[in-house]
Each structure stands twice: as structure tokens, then as C-alpha cells.
């Protein structure tokens, strides 16, 4: 007689041994498993996930999901529909692929760390499946990026970006390494699974998938939606870990991890999602603004999650809400004026895009539109060179992103003296995170620090090459105006 699923499932996902030859604290050292350290019997024995999956079920489901994505890819490659994608949308895809493809591979190592050092067998089984998920989340973008190489050579940044010194990728790596690649199992479960994956990936994958559908990029839409179903499954690791921390009296530490990860996730999402949604997505493909998506899909869900655990809103909540109107618009101006440092192109907003921005952000016309007008005027009068920034932007010593004015007339930048040096931060929350673990962060150098130390070139062409950009081909340009003709003209013979 065949066993029913309920009869065998716990044997497949939750079997813990009694250790006879080594102590529990030796098998699960605090450095790797996390703090505070509790015995399994004391704290972790009841660890359980909501949606239980066995390996055989996982393999069947994943095979079907891959077949579904590949079927769309095959169908569309025959009709060459990629060639009709919107120019701005292609830049968004290039941006997304470069920023995330190999970050997902870093997450493989992170999940495997939980697979070894997570404190309960069910947690370790879930993390094992999570690691397989993240391999898939690396391979799919690499495949789709390769497909798009025929349209644009810079799609090689899908694979290349993560290994470069590009300033955005340094920021991304700093975030990924702090949040999960160099974190212990407990910190990672709260920061990666509970905050980033439960809190924010809806925005990066589901909202973007909806836009991809309207932009007629159906293979990208299918891939994003497929990835998000994996995220939703392995993200549930975070809940029981957080619950255990709180039940065992570590509420204050749990709150710290949530606050820290929320701010760090927000900072990276402003850069990767906020700017791309609002400035690279064709107007016809937009349904909601980045602010509206964030309010509905991130803020509301996160508040419900915090209520479930009786945790407080992060102490910087009002600042976060205020930034929804400004931060990504300020950062977009940095991206545009420093576009040779990007691997994708950036536009000056068109009239229809400006109308959208005015409608969705009532303060945009007063604050940002005059700056875009001045950029257009400078280009008209003096050519492309007048629309570029030359002095390097100030970079935050924590998030590594430019210290933008996130509200008109209200500069949030601040400094901290530590161990004989002065560190610049874009905001109080970034400074607060640095202060909590100053030794962890203080040795990391921003791009500017490296220039000042002589480790990176101080001239702009040299610095751009150091970041991985061979000029002008492998660098961002104005999406609609391209480059001034002299930049691509052959050099006349002497």
C-alpha cells in the first residue's frame, strides 16, 4: 500500500539527530549559525514552515516552470519579437540583468550556509531548495541576456557587471555581502528571507513582470513571474526564525535586524527599481508609479508582517515615507549626468513621460523639471559634454550610492568620525547602521576613497576603464540623442 503524503513528508523534511561524537555548539558554531545561540531542544525543535515541500515535488514543479519559460522563449525567438521591444525597456532589462543575475548566484552560497548551519532540519531542507532556486535565478537571466546580445553588445554585462568595479555594482555587492553573503544563518534568514524577499521582491519581480507584459516582453515577464514563485517559497524561512528570536527574548536584536535590512533594501531598490520603473519603462506599459507600487505591495504587506510579530515600525519610517516622492528622482539625475559610468543608456524624460511624472508626483514639476530643462538647454547650447557631471559625486560610506538631495532644500547627508577618519553618509539611517558595526564597515573603501588612496585612476577616462567601461562603446549614453558625432568619428590621420 502506498503511503500518503502526510505519512512520509515529515521524514523527508524534518529529521534531527542526537549528537554523540560532537557537541551541538561545535556542530553549529555561533559565528556561522548566529546569535543569540540557543540549544535545539530549547528553541528550534518546533521550527516549521507554512508551505511544506519535498524534494520530489520540488523537482517536478521546477521542471514545469522551466518548460513554461523556455516554451515562451522558443516561440518568441522564431518571430524575432525582441527586435521590436521599446528602446528604453531594453535598457531597463540590461540594467536589471546586470544588477541581479550574479547576485542571485551569491545567494546560492548564502542559502547553502543556512543549509549547513540552520538550526533545524526543516530549515536546512528549505534552504537546500532555496539554493537550487537561486541557481535557477542565475541561469535564466544569463540565458535571456545571451539571447539579447544580438541586439546590443552591452548585454554581456549580464554576466560581467558583478565582477567589475562599476560604482553601482560596488554598491550592490556591499549590500548583498552584508545582508547575506557574509552573514550568519540567523541574520541572513531575517535580512534576506524576511525583509528583502518577503518585503521587497514583489516589487522587483511581480510589478516589473506586469510592466513587461504591457511592454510586450513576454519571455522576461514569464521569467520574472516564475522567479517570484520561488522567492515566495524560500522567503518563508524568515518567519519561523524571527518568531523564535522573539519567543526566546531577543526581540531587540530582531528589531535591529529588521530595521537595518529594511533601510539597506530600500536604498538598493531606489537605485535599481525606482529609477528604472519611472524613467526607462515606456509610458504605455506603466500602470502605477514606483511610489504607488511601493505603498501597496511593500509598505502595506510589511506593516502586516510587523504586526504579526508585534514589532515596531523602523525608527526612520517617516523619512522612508518622505523619500517615496523624491529619492529616485534625484538619483535619476545622477544616473543621467554620470551615464558614462553605466552599462545602459538613460533618457531625458520626453513630454509624455513628463506628463506622467507630473501626474504621479505633484512636486516633480517644481523640483525636478527645471533641472531637466537646464540639461536640455545646456546640450542645445554646448553639446553633449555640457550635460555631463565631472567632479565625482559624493558617495555614502555605507550604501555606496551617491549622496543625493532626497528632498528639495533638505540635504540629509551627514558625517561620522571613527578611528581618526571622517566618513560621509547619505542619511542618518546609513550612519546608524555603520555605527552599530563600525569595525565591519570601516575598512571598506568607496570609489572616491580608492581614487584618493591612488588605488583607482584619478582621471575620468582612466576611472571609467577601471570600472569596466571601454569608451565610448561600453558606456551609457543618452537614449535618444546618442553621442556627439565627434566621439564616434574616426580620428583623422596626423
Amino acid at each position: 500500500m502506498a503511503l500518503s503524503r502526510d505519512d512520509w513528508l515529515d521524514l523527508a523534511r524534518k529529521v534531527d539527530w542526537s549528537y554523540r561524537y560532537a557537541k551541538e555548539e561545535e556542530l553549529f558554531p555561533e559565528t556561522m549559525s548566529g546569535s543569540p545561540w540557543f540549544t535545539h531542544d530549547q528553541a528550534w525543535a518546533d521550527w516549521s514552515e507554512v508551505y511544506r515541500t519535498a524534494f520530489s515535488e520540488y523537482v517536478r514543479n521546477q521542471a514545469n516552470k522551466d518548460l513554461s519559460v523556455l516554451a515562451v522563449r522558443d516561440a518568441l525567438s522564431k518571430s524575432a519579437l525582441n527586435e521590436h521591444l521599446d528602446d528604453g525597456w531594453l535598457q531597463l532589462v540590461k540594467f536589471h540583468q546586470g544588477a541581479f543575475a550574479l547576485a542571485e548566484y551569491a545567494a546560492v552560497a548564502a542559502e547553502l550556509r543556512m543549509c549547513r548551519f540552520g538550526r533545524d532540519s526543516a530549515w536546512r531542507v528549505m534552504a537546500n531548495l532555496g539554493a537550487l532556486d537561486e541557481i535557477r535565478h542565475t541561469q535564466i537571466p544569463l540565458l535571456l541576456g545571451h539571447d539579447l546580445l544580438g541586439l546590443d553588445d552591452n548585454f554581456d554585462w549580464t554576466h560581467k557587471a558583478f565582477h567589475t568595479n562599476n560604482f553601482l555594482m560596488i554598491a550592490a555587492r556591499h549590500f548583498f555581502e552584508d545582508t547575506f553573503a557574509a552573514a550568519n544563518a540567523i541574520d541572513m534568514a531575517v535580512q534576506l528571507n524576511f525583509v528583502l524577499e518577503t518585503g521587497f521582491t514583489n516589487l522587483q519581480f511581480m510589478a516589473l513582470a506586469a510592466m513587461a507584459n504591457r511592454a510586450n516582453h513576454h519571455v522576461f515577464e514569464k521569467a520574472l513571474a516564475s522567479i517570484q514563485t520561488d522567492e515566495a517559497r524560500h522567503a518563508q524561512i524568515g518567519h519561523p526564525v524571527l518568531r523564535t528570536l522573539i519567543e526566546q527574548g531577543a526581540r531587540e536584536y530582531a528589531q535591529y535586524l529588521v530595521d537595518k535590512a529594511w533601510w539597506r533594501s530600500w536604498r538598493i531598490l531606489i537605485a535599481t527599481t525606482g529609477t528604472a520603473m519611472e524613467y526607462l519603462t515606456p509610458v504605455t506599459a506603466r500602470t502605477r508609479s514606483f511610489k504607488e507600487f511601493t505603498e501597496e505591495w511593500v509598505v502595506q504587506q510589511f506593516m502586516r508582517n510587523l504586526e504579526e510579530f508585534d514589532l515596531d515600525l523602523p525608527w526612520f519610517w517617516d523619512q522612508f515615507l518622505g523619500e517615496l516622492d523624491y529619492a529616485h528622482h534625484s538619483l535619476q539625475l545622477v544616473f543621467y549626468t554620470y551615464r558614462p559610468m553605466l552599462w545602459f543608456d538613460e533618457p531625458i524624460p520626453s513630454s509624455s513621460e513628463r506628463a506622467w511624472l507630473r501626474q504621479k508626483y505633484p512636486g516633480w514639476a517644481e523640483t525636478y523639471e527645471p533641472i531637466w530643462d537646464r540639461i536640455e538647454e545646456a546640450w542645445k547650447l554646448h553639446g553633449e559634454a555640457a550635460s555631463l557631471g565631472y567632479a565625482l559625486p559624493a558617495l555614502c560610506s555605507l550604501c555606496q550610492l551617491p549622496a543625493v538631495f532626497v528632498q528639495p532644500g533638505a540635504n540629509t547627508a551627514c558625517t561620522l568620525s571613527f578611528d581618526g577618519s571622517t566618513y560621509l553618509f547619505c542619511s542618518e539611517p546609513c550612519r546608524w547602521i555603520f555605527e552599530q558595526q563600525s569595525q565591519r564597515f570601516s575598512d571598506h573603501q568607496t570609489v572616491l576613497d580608492r581614487v584618493l588612496a591612488g588605488e583607482a585612476p584619478s582621471d575620468m577616462p582612466g576611472l571609467l576603464r577601471w570600472m569596466g567601461h571601454e569608451q565610448p562603446a561600453a558606456a551609457g549614453k543618452d537614449l535618444r540623442r546618442g553621442l556627439d558625432s565627434w566621439r564616434v568619428a574616426p580620428v583623422p590621420p596626423a
Partner: protein, 83 residues
Amino acid sequence: MLVHLYGFLQDDFVGRQIIVDDGQPVGTLSTQLQAWGPDLYPAASIRDAEITNEQGTLLNPSATILDSGLTPGALFHVGGARL
């Protein structure tokens, strides 16, 4: 001595790093910051520029950068009426 500072110009959208001689007058920071920025804010476009440190203290434009307490890595703001 050459030092790096982070300047935040009124109506600009990002802070910018500039390299200065700490013996030069504070008053020169305004034009240098504008000149080092994109071509959106022509030099001397701010009239009677006021330069303040991170704490909001108004700095004496005649004092040297060194005497004004702006050490390497410090930030300053430039504000005032735009021409």
C-alpha cells in the same frame, strides 16, 4: 595641504567631491563647487553665497579652510539667492 571636501550646492541634486588647498579662503568654495559641477550652474550664479558647515554654522568667507574647521572628508553647504 590638499584636502577633499564634500560640497552640497543649493538646488543641485547631489553632493560633489572637490579637492582644495586648505590654505585657500572659504569664500572660494562656492565658485569652485559650481565650476566643478555640471554646466547647469554657471560659475558665480549665486549672489552673496552663504557657506555653512554640517552643523549649520555660517563660515567666515575670509577665513582659510583650515581655520574654519573643515577637515578632510568634511561636508559644507552653499546657499544664497540665485542670480
